[in-house]
């Protein structure tokens, strides 16, 4: 083997690294390494002059491999690999030694930090000595997109992608698209009607030639990787043929089963066969099989008898469909934090204590009370209403630690809507503080206080309970006056925390994408990659990624669509060649790696493991599992790991 010619480039990162690590000494000591023929340090290696000096040094010194001691490879591995390519050597002969996140940022003692930076860099040098000049693997892309979740986020993303000419499959778990926005009456900060702005988009989805809508469907399994996913979707039977259904409502009239209507959050009832709401997309009825007496003419069969169009079919079966797509956008939204978790507020058992969405349904013209604000217990107009903010939010000890971000705004909106419906009523808002950042938001809150005379009380409500005369007694404090407050309200509205929906949890599992500590989908980088998941080719949009209002949701959805379009504008994707490789002589075909590979990239052929290089993500799980060291990841071979450990141990 001819001797390696490695160059080492040490970055100061301004003072980020240089303040803690003696970068000069580091650069100097690296020249002691047998393979190192060139070493330099520079204040910002990723700057233009810095990058140029890397390129120049590679050319001038005939370097065949490069180590850059700098920040995390997440940030600049690509930058420097590109530099290597531009200098005429393979990008895969360039490795990063992370001396910032893994060293400078976590240490204070300069001497010790420098020693550690030396070890980290040395181990990268020993590793790169065995790197192969691999060529990227070109993979054709499937120019189709799947959007999971049909709330406003999913709708927006699907429309943006479809309008750019790509085929979209929109998968929604419920019988209609629309998500939570469908349940809202008016929306802050402009108070325009939620349905009025949403329905046109829903109709556009249903008519779009590029959108294939799959409602009442769930994603069950995903294989493949960026550019080429294969998704298994289960479409549940609705027992009604949407093509044939004439929307006459005859079936509903005869159905004997009455269950709470989830669209109205239980404030109204529906039949077993139902349409979620009048403008549902797809416009068709759904037979709720859990409520139905048994899909059986002997037990009931009334709806089928009465349907003149013959649209009802009790024998409809679940359908499993496989879709090939190049990218996936996850927009599975939020749920409200369960009232049952709030013992101090009656755990959902006190009458006339509603959550925010129920209140939206009360205000909505299409809602339970046809747009009249009437309290559920006795259908009287509530004259005193207490709104409580931050319920379940910002309470790390008992509930969610985070701020749900939208509750200040929607509570202000609720107070105003209430005052518009009941001008002689009194609205109280309990708040911790008011967060109204956003265009027109602060003004909106001011108007709630001033024009609509809402009484804002700064403080927490400690307890509430029902009184004998049918009121809800709210016990709280006003921290501004220091006094205890007791209000006998006709109705209480809780601004419950937003939490990731159950469907988000399920989708994350199926897609194998990470979630953050609160369960929201984790973005690849909090600042620079807010719509990318950690898995290439899977993007995030809407409240599934974190609490958000509609404008933010829509922006993120369009951003995700834009990322997808950029990705799929290429004919082929280049797949990292750092994939697993089997040493046949050592493989006994035990299949452990086959079971362990999270990407289903390995199978057994003639008793030996074989890696599908396109599916392999180079995660190394197989290498960690194989007790026989029969499988290795290229450029992270066990030989290299051994060399790195030896270097760190001082060998």
């Amino acid at each position: 083997m001819t001797k390696k010619r490695t160059g080492v480039f040490v970055c100061h990162c301004g003072n980020n690294i240089a303040a803690t690590v003696d970068v000069k000494r580091l650069a100097e000591e690296m020249t002691d390494e047998e393979t190192v023929v060139y070493s330099q340090d520079y204040v910002y290696m990723c700057s233009d002059p810095g990058q140029n000096s890397v390129i120049q040094a590679i050319k001038d010194n005939q370097l065949d491999s490069v180590v850059v001691s700098c920040c995390s490879p997440n940030l600049h591995e690509k930058t420097f690999r590109d530099n290597a390519e531009r200098a005429g050597i393979s990008g895969f002969t360039c490795e990063i030694a992370n001396i910032r996140e893994q060293c400078a940022w976590v240490h204070k003692n300069r001497e010790e930090a420098t020693e550690k930076a030396i070890k980290i860099s040395r181990s990268a040098i020993r590793r790169v000595a065995h790197n192969k000049a691999l060529d990227p693997i070109a993979v054709p892309v499937t120019r189709r997109v799947m959007v999971i979740g049909g709330g406003i986020a999913g709708i927006q993303a699907a429309l943006d992608v479809a309008n750019a000419g790509l085929e979209v499959i929109l998968v929604e778990k419920l019988a209609t698209i629309g998500g939570h926005m469908l349940q809202l009456s008016e929306t802050f900060p402009t108070l325009d009607c939620s349905q009025c702005i949403l329905s046109p988009k829903m109709v556009e989805v249903s008519r779009h030639p590029n959108i294939k809508l799959m409602t009442y469907s769930e994603v069950q399994d995903v294989s493949g990787s960026v550019g080429n996913f294969r998704v298994k979707v289960l479409q549940k039977p609705t027992y009604v043929d949407p093509e044939a259904c004439k929307l006459c409502d005859d079936c509903v009239q005869v159905c004997p089963v009455v269950v709470p209507n989830e669209h109205d959050l239980g404030l109204t009832a529906r039949r077993a066969i139902h349409i979620p709401f009048a403008q549902a997309i797809p416009a068709s009825y759904t037979l709720d099989v859990d409520a139905c007496l048994g899909l059986n003419p002997i037990r009931c069969g009334k709806c089928k008898d009465v349907c003149e169009a013959g649209a009802i079919n009790y024998d409809m079966q679940p359908r499993t469909v496989f879709e090939e797509v190049g990218a996936i956008i996850v927009a599975t939204g939020f749920d409200l934090y369960g009232q049952e978790n709030l013992g101090e507020y009656g755990a959902g058992k006190v009458e006339d204590v509603l959550d925010g969405l129920q209140f939206e349904r009360l205000c909505s013209a299409s809602g339970a009370t046809k747009g009249h604000v009437l309290r559920p217990s006795d259908h009287k107009v509530p004259k005193e209403v207490v709104f409580i903010q931050c319920v379940g939010s910002r309470d790390p000890a008992q509930h969610c630690a985070y701020c749900s971000k939208i509750c200040c705004m929607y509570t202000a909106k609720h107070a105003r809507l209430y005052k518009h419906h009941v001008p002689d009523g009194r609205a109280y808002v309990f708040y911790i503080d008011i967060r109204s950042g956003g265009k027109g938001y602060e003004e909106f809150v001011q108007r709630t206080m001033e024009d609509d005379e809402t009484i804002y009380l700064r403080g927490r409500v400690s307890k509430l309970h029902r009184t004998r005369d049918g009121k809800v007694r709210v016990l709280g404090t006003d921290t501004l006056t220091g006094q205890n407050v007791e209000i006998d309200a006709d109705m209480v509205v809780l601004a419950l925390a937003m939490q990731p929906s159950k469907g988000t949890e399920q989708a994350a599992k199926v897609l194998k994408i990470g979630r953050d500590k609160d369960g929201f989908l984790a973005e690849a980088h909090p600042k620079l990659k807010p719509v990318e998941s950690v898995t290439a080719g899977i993007y995030l949009a809407g409240a599934a990624q974190g609490p958000k209002d509609i404008p933010e949701t829509v922006s993120q959805a369009s951003a995700a669509a834009c990322k997808v379009l950029a990705l799929l504008s290429q004919d082929t994707l280049s797949h990292a060649p750092t994939v697993a490789k089997v040493r046949e002589s050592h493989c006994t075909g035990c299949e452990m790696c086959v079971d362990a590979c999270p990407y289903q990239a390995i199978r057994l052929l003639n008793g030996k493991a074989v890696v599908n290089e396109v599916l392999c993500e180079g995660c190394g799980t197989c290498a960690g599992t194989c007790v026989r060291a029969a499988i290795d990841v290229k450029n992270v071979t066990q030989l290299q790991i051994h060399a790195m450990i030896s270097a760190i141990m001082g060998g």
């Binding site: 002589s585 050592h586 007790v627 026989r628 030989l639 051994h642």
Partner: protein
């Protein structure tokens, strides 16, 4: 009680009908009471097979050996093999099957239940008899052994001389079998599962490390433990540089780049790497046949290392090596409900 004639007849039948090319079993040893493993290939030899509490070996090892032989042979003979299997032997066969080492139809398991007892620990017998050795050891009733000595016979309760692993055994009758002799064994009540491992955990970390340092220090790296283990069938042992596989196509670079995760020299740290790696590579695979500990010439309590991991596998993942063929191996399977409290 198992009748040895049943085993003999079964073996003879299999060989006669040509259902198997050979039967792995036990015969009378040449010295003392101990039985020894044997391979018989003719029905006429079946009469030499024995079954008594000295049938210590895990015969699954010889299935592995045969497989290696056939793989190296120009004219491989892969006709099925019959194997006389105790509970632990059959679990070993199950793990090997789970790992595709051979196919189910390539092995005929003549299961033998240890019923209420198991096999003896020769060291315990030696202690009991103060160095004298019995000429015969036989099963005696539901939970005892009969020892024949020069001066006469002696009845010993099983718990006094049973091998440690048998005391802790939870599946003394072979679940995987094609035919089984003897009664299925229920709760035997000698020792709670993982008794020894749990007891060892009572010591402090420092004490435990001191003890193991002492053991590793004594290790000769003779590799007897590895040689006797049916699970240690890898073509090359990652922690033994002398076992490197060299093939005609192995390049000079590959040879030069072979990794020595541990050095050949038997010093404490290198032996620790060897034993701990072996233990981890056996996690979810060790069937607790106790062979490694039995053959160790310097008495390193290897069962402790292995059963400790099996205990974790059982307590955390409800996994028992060799209990369910259809299950994916412990190390390669992940379920959402797996506990992960140890990941911080």
């Amino acid at each position: 009680m198992v009748k040895v004639e049943d085993i003999q007849q079964c073996a003879a039948g299999l060989l006669e009908k040509g259902q198997v090319k050979s039967v792995l079993g036990f015969r009378r040893g040449t010295a003392g009471a101990m039985a020894e493993p044997c391979t018989i290939t003719e029905a006429a030899e079946a009469g030499t097979l024995v079954w008594d509490p000295t049938c210590l070996n895990n015969l699954a090892l010889y299935l592995v050996k045969d497989r290696k032989q056939q793989a190296a042979s120009k004219t491989p003979d892969i006709r099925p093999i019959g194997i006389v299997a105790k509970g632990c032997d059959s679990r070993a066969v199950a793990v090997l099957l789970q790992e595709n080492y051979f196919k189910r139809e390539e092995v005929f398991v003549i299961g033998v239940s240890c019923e209420g007892t198991g096999v003896i620990d020769p060291k315990k017998v030696a202690t009991l008899l103060k160095g004298r050795s019995p000429s015969r050891v036989e099963f005696d009733g539901a939970d005892g052994f009969k020892l024949t000595l020069r001066g006469g016979e002696m009845q010993v309760p099983a718990r006094e001389i049973l091998a440690d692993r048998c005391l802790e055994c939870r599946a003394a009758s072979p679940a995987l079998n094609d035919v089984v002799f003897g009664e299925p064994s229920g709760e035997r009540g000698y020792a709670t599962p993982f008794h020894a491992a749990k007891e060892a955990l009572g010591a402090s970390e420092t004490e435990r490390w001191a003890a193991w340092e002492h053991h590793f220090d004594r290790c000769l790296r003779c590799f007897a433990c590895r040689s006797v283990c049916p699970m240690c069938y890898c073509p090359e042992c990652v922690v033994d540089s002398t076992s490197f596989v060299i093939e005609p196509q192995t390049s000079a670079e590959e040879k030069a780049n072979r990794i020595k995760w541990c050095e050949r020299s038997p010093n404490t740290s290198e032996s620790a790497v060897y034993h701990l790696t072996r233990a981890i590579h056996l996690a979810g695979r060790c069937v607790d046949c106790g062979e490694c500990e039995r053959v160790c010439p310097v008495n390193i309590p290897l069962r402790l290392l292995n059963t400790m991991l099996e205990m974790e596998a059982f307590e955390m993942f409800h996994y028992q090596a060799g209990h369910d063929l259809s299950q994916a191996s412990l190390l390669s399977s992940f379920r959402d409900e797996d506990p992960n409290s140890f990941i911080r």
